[in-house]
Amino acid sequence: MSTALMTTAAEQALGLALPHRRMEEWRWTDLRQMIDKPYPPRQSVTARDADIDRLLKASPFSKIAATRMVFVNGHYDGKRSKLVNGAIESRAVASEPVLQMNQAFATDGAHLVLSGVIDTPVELVFIATDATPRAIATQNVIEVAAGASATLIETHIGEGSYLSNSVTEIRIGDGARLDRVKVEHDSADAVHLAHAHVTLARDVTLREFTLTSGAKLNRQNGTYNFTGEGTDAKVSGAYLIAGRQHADSRLVVDHQVPHCTSRELFKCVMDDHARGIFQGKVIVRPHAQKTDGKQSCNALLLSETAEFDAKPELEIYADDVACGHGATSGDLNHDHLFYLESRGIPPAEAKAMLIAAFVGEAFETVEHDGIREALADYAATWLTYHRGKRP
């Protein structure tokens, strides 16, 4: 069958082809179809100071982070940051269309070198203000030096209609520890595309958590390359989506060396017509013996019209390993609901409690108390805002 396709308006504006569902990795997120209007790149827009300040304050971590880099509409805002801007490292042009788009249009980005023990969280804030529809692209490089320890927060927040494309490369040195928390809270009319490319050296500890709740269309890619022995990584995430939101996460956990541990836990809550997708792949290369890799994704569908698709994949070439994955999908447990209601808790509240407990499990990856509480508050707000008193 022929795969020749007509160029869409969005593709024309971007000047490149978008991925579509005939490509295996995009089977559930057809960007050609879903990006239904043009987002021309490199649009210069002026942002009002009041807007920026308001959005900055909307970050759940506005009071937690001690150091911060702020990007407004894809450009570094030195006035509001407490760090200096770094150079963007040049990289070979990637084959992935979304990476290509980033490569072509990236305007700015953070280059952080984290060394020593940094005990206060560092925040990167990406703000988009309400202006003409446009594509914004940023490239970030985060280097965690050997033996360093740091907490990094990444917040995406915005208003209006835009396409945000962020690529982050993270290199973690021997014996280092990185706690990374990403909150995606883009505008309801935004498209959020992200890539995180993480390389882990020997004896590294990585704790990562991503909360996805903004944007009408989300696609987040994460690759985790284990290149040194004794490394331990926990990657978790939660979806809180409703309306007609679409969120797709694709993780590739690549065990190239022996004696590493990886854990993935995704908790996805979908309401109304929302559609959540989880594609996780654990690769154990030949010789990566003693790998311990577990992956799990659980979906909670709150409405009959919500949808969940999953593809938890294992690709294993070494025999002395303990690998597994689990995936579940369903609605709230009626017995649990009944129990709470029989204790006098109103149905809406009982539901909210169960949903909070469901996503809460994924928050546990976050060890910083302040951040974890901020996330729990965020989830509670989402529950009241989106579900209100709905039974």
């Binding site: 069958m1 013996q289 698709d309 593809k311 294992l314 690709e315 390993v321 597994g324 689990g326 999908s329």
Partner: protein, 504 residues
């Protein structure tokens, strides 16, 4: 140390020990090599088929020309030259349907050698060899002496179908599909291509164009088929593709259990096998379909072996219908096979139980699809993959619930066992839930036999081999139990041969 021994042992076993690799020296009728519309017409006229069938074949052929070979499976093989194959081969002595007495003794000998005696009076213990004792006999009770009706397919034609008269008494139609096309054209026309349409996929289209024979079963309403039905496929002729088509219809409230077995001679060239199986279960009907696939797997270096590209699909058309697939995959160089269930009827149920063992350089990409369309439909998938040698063993499955499939329920468990560090085990499940009332659970693990398990068994006085056999048998137990009694003994033996001394 034990690991090293294991690797040494794995090298020595199985792939060279294929015991069905002999060739029967029998004169065959071939269609000219290659594929074109004339060959399709040739096959159709050879079978004396009605005109609509020829039209359907030609349409399939034209569709096939438009299609591309699928490349998504995790298998690799040199490109198949479809013009370099024979699409029809029949033993010369076969002309028209015959009674058992007239069948070429050479053919009967072949089947006897395979352990499939076709003389009705000789069949006492199903597919087991004559006079062969099984420890299961005592527990098996009536099953052990139960009869099995066999449809024996040799290259492109059905040689003989046994117990036809006895089955006819119960109203069950069991015959080759070419015979069904002559005797019961209305039934065939009504159901053929209704589950796997001509243009379903590349190999299904090819099969629809050139299929030469296969089995046909119709179980009338309310009838419980009095015996196990079985078909035995044997490839013999060189450079020949085998394309058989099986169609099973279980009418309202009926039940049938069907077994399928297959072997082929040892040859240096690879051979293509592209079969299609269609099952249809009406209200309250149940079909149990079991396969022991033991095509020639190729030698240790991956030379030769069968390319097994098969489309199997069951349609639970009626309410409360049930289709259950059980497969034991030990043979073939490449397996590309996804027995599926379309759960259309309310409260219908689909089951898939699979043991896939790969060794040498075999490549297995197998799994199932459970497509929930009806309310309260349920399905269960248990897949056990065992990879040894330099093989690759992939489970690929889809579980989906349509928006209207309220309260659909699925449980999936995929376990893989790796033996040696040169093989690969992969799990690629797709889960699509379009309604919140669907409850889906999927679980997969990959591991090796733990040293603790081995140590425990060996400390109890079992030899390494016995310990391995015990543990592997425990590993596949859930699936083994689903096999009809007649196949269980055969299968345990097969697993033994495949894994003898291979685990440490």
């Amino acid at each position: 140390m034990a690991d090293l021994d294991t690797i040494e042992l794995v090298k020595d076993i199985d792939v060279d020990k294929y015991k069905y690799g002999f060739t029967t020296d029998i004169e065959s009728d071939f269609a000219p090599k290659g594929l074109n519309e004339d060959i399709v017409r040739f096959i159709s006229s050879k079978k004396g088929e009605p005109k609509w069938m020829l039209e359907a074949r030609l349409e399939a052929y034209r569709r096939w020309l438009q299609m591309d070979e699928p490349t998504w499976a995790k298998v690799s093989y040199p490109k198949i030259d479809f013009q370099d194959l024979y699409y029809y081969a029949a033993p010369k002595s076969m002309s028209g349907p015959k009674s058992l007495d007239e069948v070429d003794p050479k053919l009967l000998e072949t089947y006897a050698k395979l352990g499939i005696p076709l003389k009705e009076q000789e069949i006492l213990a199903g597919v087991r060899k004559q006079g062969e004792k099984s420890e299961l006999d005592e527990q098996a009770g009536e099953y052990a002496t139960g009869k099995v009706a066999v449809d024996a397919v040799f290259d492109s034609v059905s040689v003989v179908t046994t117990f036809k008269a006895e089955l006819a008494k119960a109203g069950v139609i069991f015959c080759s599909i070419s015979e069904a096309l002559r005797e019961h054209p209305e039934l065939v026309q009504k159901y053929l291509f209704s589950v796997v349409p001509q243009g379903d996929n590349y190999y299904a289209a090819l099969n629809a164009a050139v299929f030469s024979d296969g089995s046909f079963v119709y179980v009338p309403p309310g009838v419980r088929c009095p015996m196990e039905l079985s078909t035995y496929f044997r490839m013999n002729a060189k450079n020949t593709g085998q394309f058989e088509r099986t169609l099973i219809i279980a009418d309202k409230g009926s039940y049938v259990s069907y077994l399928e077995g297959c072997t082929a001679p040892t040859r240096e060239e690879s051979q293509l096998h592209a079969a299609v199986v269609e099952l249809i279960a009406m209200d309250d009907a149940e079909i149990k379909y079991s396969t022991v696939q033991n095509w020639y797997p190729g030698d240790a270096e991956g030379k030769g072996g069968i390319y097994n590209f098969v489309t199997k699909r069951g349609d639970c058309r009626g309410a409360r219908s049930k289709i259950s697939w059980t497969q034991v995959e030990t043979g073939s160089a490449i397996t590309w096979k996804y027995p599926s269930c379309i759960l259309r009827g309310e409260e219908s149920r689909g089951e898939f139980y699979s043991i896939a063992i790969s060794n040498g350089r075999q490549q297995v990409d197998s799994g199932t699809k459970m497509i929930h369309l009806g309310k309260n439909s349920s399905s269960r998938i248990i897949s056990k993959g065992i990879a040894a040698g330099r093989s690759d063993n992939t489970y690929r499955g889809l579980v989906s619930a349509h928006r209207k499939a309220l309260n659909a329920r699925n449980f999936t468990q995929c376990d893989s066992l790796l033996i040696g560090d040169k093989c690969g085990a992969h799990t690629v499940p797709y889960i699509e839930a379009k309604t919140s009332t669907a409850q889906f659970e999927h679980e997969a693990t990959t591991s090796k036999i733990s040293d603790d398990q081995m140590f425990y068994c060996m400390s109890r006085g079992l030899s390494q081999e016995e310990a391995v056999a015990l543990i592997v048998n425990g590993f596949v137990r859930d699936v083994l139990q689903q096999l009809p009694m007649e196949f269980m003994a055969e299968t345990q033996k097969l697993i033994g041969i495949s894994l003898e001394g291979s685990v440490g």
